[in-house]
């Protein structure tokens, strides 16, 4: 029996006031892997993730996430980490954990508390009093503590120092369910090179390159970081 696809996108086109962000994009991703979503600025990474998460409408084409079109059913099985600080400034970590527990049936509060401890976040500080990296870690703790079928992480390690990036990636990996799909967008390819199973390079809203990380490295005889630089400077 074939494993149902975690993400199935056909002919996806999205324009912002006449400017094309996604241009007939086709994509099929199976569960049980970590996929690096890479591309230069304006290549459509964030737009793609927003559509998959169900927070961006008015597109053309076909989109299925965990077997559902973007909507309440897909949102119940998709955990989305946007590239924005989306929690109230007045929240302390416990408040945010309670918030998630109220709205998501698949949320595991004890796992979230463990991640907050793992990241060494202060329980008594509000988000307003936290650094950007701390806020990012809290949001990752929440997103990864859902028992989702699809995780969509938009630039989770951008803007944090290299040491924190490693800690964040370890936190993500330690809480990732092997049966799920994790789609992670980033510019920092070197940092995620060792954790991704496959990569997806976008350019101008289309898939430029898609393949297994090991296969691409072997085929081109270079690291993914070097391949990215080569592809996007050519």
């Amino acid at each position: 029996m074939n494993t149902p696809l975690a993400i199935e996108v056909t002919g996806l086109t999205k324009s912002y006031r006449g400017r094309t962000a996604l241009d007939g994009l086709d994509l099929r991703l199976a569960p049980g892997q970590i996929v690096g979503l890479m591309g230069d600025n304006g290549s459509g990474k964030t737009t793609l993730l927003k559509i998959l998460a169900g927070v961006l409408a008015e597109w053309e084409g076909s989109v299925r996430v965990a077997g559902h079109a973007p909507g309440p059913e897909s949102k119940a099985t998709v955990s989305f980490l946007p590239d924005a600080s989306f929690l109230p400034d007045a929240h302390r970590p416990a408040d945010s954990i309670d918030l998630y527990a109220r709205f998501f049936d698949d949320f595991d509060p004890s796992r979230a508390r463990s991640m907050v401890e793992f990241f060494g976040l202060p329980w008594d500080r509000t988000l307003k009093e936290m650094s950007k990296g701390m806020r990012e870690k809290l949001q990752i703790s929440l997103a990864m503590s859902r028992r989702a079928r699809v995780y969509l992480l938009d630039e989770p390690i951008s803007g944090v120092d290299p040491a924190s990036r490693d800690v964040i990636l370890r936190g993500i990996l330690s809480n990732f369910d092997d049966d799920a799909l994790l789609l992670i967008s980033t510019h920092l390819i070197q940092d995620v090179e060792q954790i991704v199973d496959s990569v997806l390079f976008l350019r101008a809203g289309s898939v430029l390159l898609h393949g297994g990380a090991d296969e691409l490295r072997a085929e081109h005889g270079m690291s993914l970081d070097a391949l990215f630089r080569k592809v996007y400077t050519s």
């Binding site: 006031r17 409408a57 309440p72």
Partner: protein, 277 residues
């Protein structure tokens, strides 16, 4: 889930609402106390300040509701709200129900403040407050009191539902490059259109209430058009101008129609056209 959403709005706004309402009530209480104690100069100003603070209370509460709606739906916190696994229309109606509840409570507190102002004024005039209130209320026909209360509730529903609808429509992909400017422009447009539509409805819709005479308070099947034309034909120089006897109630229908339209359109906008920037 709708109960959870409403409870979440309460959690998100309770501190700012309590602060604003608390400050407003404090200003009302202090100002009116000055009036009641007949403190020279300050007492007279206090009555005006107290009345303004009481009225402003509802307006500021409505402002906070607008800020909360926009921030949690289309600001950065919208990234949480919009991934909650419910339909967009559920989010919309939860916000509207919460907004209506808070706005009605705010209006009730404003009304209480105005009653307090009347009491303070009576005391400043060395009159018995309850007797003063009784006399004042006795001057108002019961139908007028009911009419005023119903009109106030309709106005609150109008502001909350139409306001939420305009914000959600303005946040659709085709308009959201304007940011909060889109709903502001939408509100101006709706205001202008409704001025024309409401005026026309008051004139021509055959539904009104008699304002004067022995039949005051009776509903009659006519609008204000004939009397309006008659007034236009009067010659002010001869002093024959007569105020209209009937108040056209066509605005009730136009307001209710706009509330229904914006409830449907706003819910649809969240459901099908949500586009976070």
């Amino acid at each position: 889930m709708i109960g959870t959403l409403i409870a979440q709005d309460f959690r998100a706004t309770r501190k700012s609402l309590v602060a604003v309402v608390g400050i407003a009530l404090l200003v009302v209480a202090v100002s009116l106390t000055m009036t009641a104690l007949r403190v020279p100069v300050i007492g007279q100003i206090g009555l005006v300040v107290g009345i303004i603070a009481a009225v402003m209370l509802t307006l500021v509460v409505l402002g906070l509701l607008v800020e909360n709606y926009w921030r949690t739906m289309y600001g950065r916190e919208g990234y949480f709200t919009m991934v909650v696994p419910v339909r967009g229309r559920t989010l919309f109606f939860a916000k509207v129900v919460y907004g209506l509840t808070v706005a009605v409570v705010g209006a009730a507190l404003s009304a209480l403040g105005l009653v307090g102002a009347a009491v303070a004024f009576a005391l400043s005039q060395r009159q018995e407050p309850l007797e003063f209130l009784r006399t004042g209320l006795g001057m108002v026909e019961p139908w007028m009191a009911w009419f005023a209360a119903a009109a106030l509730l309709l106005q609150i529903a109008y502001l909350v539902v139409v306001g939420a609808g305009i914000m959600s429509i303005g946040a659709q992909g085709r308009f959201n490059h304007l940011g909060f400017g889109a709903p502001v422009l939408g509100a101006v447009l709706v205001y202008l259109v409704m001025q024309v539509v409401t005026f026309a409805a008051i004139m021509v819709v055959p539904f009104g209430v008699v304002m004067v005479g022995p039949d005051a308070g009776s509903l009659v099947p006519r609008g204000m058009l004939n009397e309006f034309i008659a007034v236009l034909g009067d010659d002010p120089a001869t002093g024959s101008t007569q105020p209209p006897n009937v108040l056209g109630l066509g605005f009730v229908f136009t307001s209710a129609a706009l509330i229904a339209l914006m409830a449907w359109w706003g819910a649809r906008a969240v459901d099908r056209h949500t586009s976070l920037r």
